[in-house]
């Protein structure tokens, strides 16, 4: 049976629940991307928070926290096969329990580790290169990450900008993190047009650009290295490259 879910993490966990309690999953897919299979039947799974929690809890308890974090990061990735990699991994992991993560290179474990690393690397990179501008007293950042990492950024910036208000806008997914008064939330299907900057904002951006440009030691120019650290797809939203 192919299980179809709504794209949420809870939905995915509910599918895992049904795999064990109802009938083996031949595959898990997001409803909107699903291509009808000739071989397998499919069933739409209604997301059930309680069932999802049972599975999340079991991963944490019977396998490890590390495994849970890996699965969650994998879910946030843009990997086309992620649901089935997670399914395969969990089937393996529930068998080997606490010892699972020691099988670093096992074919069921390695993909999860690699995807986790990719997402974590992007998360870490974006913590540094996300650029905010001040607009009417609010800090505003626009970006388009490869993976759906907004939720991973929220706590970091909520802590960094404790006494401020901010908005982080994922233009690819039309998703925002909104933070004010010690609380953040995520909103979907939002469209934000480009906004004009104040004179002071423009001046600070220019100061930064000047500083950034001056800092480079010309005799040691190494553009390739710079591209490795900041691939071009990130640059359109970075003040110093505009």
């Amino acid at each position: 049976m192919d299980y179809l879910y709504d794209g949420t993490f809870e939905g995915l966990m509910t599918c895992i629940y049904y795999h064990y309690k109802k009938g083996k999953a031949t595959g898990i897919y997001v409803i909107s991307n699903y291509q009808q299979s000739i071989v397998y039947q499919s069933e739409i799974v209604e997301t059930d928070i309680l069932k999802a929690e049972i599975v999340s809890d079991a991963i944490n308890r019977l396998i490890s926290k590390e495994a849970y974090v890996h699965v969650y990061y994998c879910y946030l990735s843009n990997d086309a096969e992620k649901e089935n990699l997670i399914l395969d991994f969990l089937i393996f992991a529930f068998k080997y329990g606490r010892n699972t993560m020691n099988f670093y290179t096992h074919e069921k474990v390695l993909p999860i580790n690699e995807i986790y690393k990719r997402v974590a690397r992007e998360e870490h990179r974006v913590l540094g290169i996300l650029r905010f501008s001040e607009i009417g007293g609010i800090l505003y950042a626009k970006y388009s990450p490869d993976n759906d990492i907004s939720i991973l950024l929220a706590d970091h910036f909520a802590d960094r900008y404790k006494h401020e208000k901010f908005i982080i806008y994922d233009e690819k997914r039309k998703k925002v993190v909104v933070y004010a008064n010690n609380n953040w939330e995520i909103k979907e299907n939002i469209n934000i047009d480009d906004i004009e900057f104040s004179i002071k904002e423009t001046m600070i951006q220019k100061l930064w650009k000047q500083y950034f440009t001056d800092l480079a030691i010309k005799e040691r120019k190494n553009i390739n290295l710079q591209f490795q650290f900041v691939p071009s797809r990130y640059r359109k939203n970075m003040t110093e490259f505009k």
């Binding site: 010892n99 020691n102 099988f103 670093y104 290179t105 390695l110 870490h124 913590l127 540094g128 290169i129 996300l130 650029r131 905010f132 501008s133 001040e134 800090l139 950042a141 960094r160 900008y161 006494h163 401020e164 002071k200 001046m203 600070i204 951006q205 220019k206 100061l207 930064w208 000047q210 500083y211 950034f212 001056d214 800092l215 480079a216 030691i217 010309k218 040691r220 120019k221 190494n222 553009i223 390739n224 290295l225 710079q226 490795q228 650290f229 900041v230 970075m238 003040t239 110093e240």
Partner: protein
């Protein structure tokens, strides 16, 4: 904020990009290639990479470049006719907070030349820090330089607000210092170091008794040495570092390749290239001492007081001590694994972990993404040696050189 801020920022950040003397960052140029932990990420977050590929995480500026001293190796020395500029403490604070809010930087690295007097300069550094902490309520990272010779009370007040402070040792021996920086007295450098060390220890002690005890440079103190301006050997340099680590619990000793700025009988010729590779090797050796359980004495022999420029220090160590190799991957302890050239902390940990399940094969090493390019000459896996040479330093060297040349040729052919 007004327009002459652009001018000041240009002059006072320009000085900061050449890592020499008061202007240096205390941040390494390159990622360390020896091991896994503590690359740029452990030091914090990189916010930008300049076109020379360096990570930018702090706003690195001088408060002023208007100096009364005449250190021979420094562009800001009083006898050098250059453009001078001075920030007000308010300007430093405002720039920092505005850059920080936009996520351009992680914090501030504030250094300074000595304007008017050590106390006058130290006072202004303190003022900038005070504004940042209390007016702007900024509790991000701040590293400031302590000016040798400044009043102890001022240093103490500064330490209570800064995350890290540094007093530069500048040169590894008393003789070198008296020739090149005659106004700087060794005592004036060691005194604040010791004061800071004592205050840090006391703050830690107090913390054990009262949870709200005042903080004192929680990030510890660091210092810096200029490399290549004097004939001092790597052995001398690393022994001084070892002493500073032991005596003052330094967090880091930074090395800075000397960039020739003037001709003097006591300095290398102006045409000399800055010894960047040597600086890099010193960092690698320092890394081995701090994270890989090496002692500085293991690295040198009676006849060789310098590191090898061609091979990294771990490789050099292995080649100079070939009788301790090969090391069997399936039997070696963690410490032994760390002695294998090319094998870092992450790989060593993975090997230990994976070994619990089954014997490790050469193939699974590859899958773990262990870099075997250099390691393979120094290991056996299930008893088998995988280097295509004999276990002989000269053969291994020749093999590695050949590989390098082949690589270069194939790059040209493409």
């Amino acid at each position: 904020m007004d327009d002459n801020l652009f001018e000041k920022l240009r002059i006072l950040s320009d000085a900061a990009k050449y890592d020499v003397s008061c202007v240096s960052s205390g941040v390494e140029r390159k990622n360390n290639t020896v091991g896994g932990i503590g690359n740029a990420s452990a030091a914090g977050i990189c916010h930008a990479w300049s076109s020379d590929g360096r990570c930018i995480s702090l706003l690195k500026i001088l408060l002023t470049n208007d100096c009364i001293y005449d250190c021979k190796y420094c562009l800001n020395r009083v006898t050098n006719p250059i453009e001078r500029a001075t920030f007000t403490p308010e300007e430093v604070a405002e720039l920092t907070i505005q850059f920080y809010r936009r996520n351009y930087i992680e914090g501030l690295f504030l250094s300074s030349a000595v304007e008017k007097s050590p106390d006058y300069t130290m006072e202004n550094i303190y003022r900038a820090l005070e504004l940042l902490r209390y007016k702007y309520n900024f509790w991000g990272y701040v590293h400031v330089k302590v000016i040798p010779g400044a009043n102890a009370l001022l240093i103490q007040k500064t330490g209570m607000l800064a995350d890290r402070v540094s007093v530069n040792i500048e040169l590894p021996t008393r003789e070198s210092l008296s020739i090149l920086a005659p106004q700087k007295k060794v005592e004036n450098i060691l005194k604040p170091m010791s004061l800071i060390h004592n205050e840090i220890s006391r703050a830690i002690e107090d913390k054990n008794h009262f949870s709200n005890a005042p903080r004192f440079v929680p990030g510890g103190q660091s210092t810096q040495m200029i490399i290549g301006a004097t004939p001092d050997s790597d052995k001398t340099i690393l022994n001084v570092s070892q002493n500073l680590y032991d005596k003052f619990r330094m967090k880091r000793v930074f090395f800075s390749a000397y960039i020739p700025v003037m001709s003097s009988p006591n300095l290398p010729a102006v045409s000399t290239m800055p010894p960047l590779l040597r600086e890099h090797r010193l960092y690698q050796a320092d890394w081995l001492m701090r994270y890989y359980y090496f002692n500085s004495s293991e690295l040198f022999t009676e006849i060789e007081p310098n590191l090898d420029l061609e091979f990294d220090p771990k490789m050099m160590y292995a080649l100079r001590n070939i009788d301790r190799f090969p090391i069997e991957i399936n039997k070696a302890s963690y410490e032994e694994l760390l002695r294998i050239p090319g094998l870092g902390v992450t790989s060593a940990q993975r090997i230990i972990r994976e070994r619990k399940n089954a014997q490790i094969s050469y193939d699974s090493l590859k899958k773990m993404r262990t870099v075997l390019k250099r390691a393979k000459y120094f290991i056996t896996v299930k008893g088998k040696y995988y280097g295509n040479t004999k276990l002989d330093p000269d053969e291994i060297k020749a093999e590695i050189r050949m590989k390098e040349i082949q690589k270069q040729i194939s790059i040209f052919e493409i």
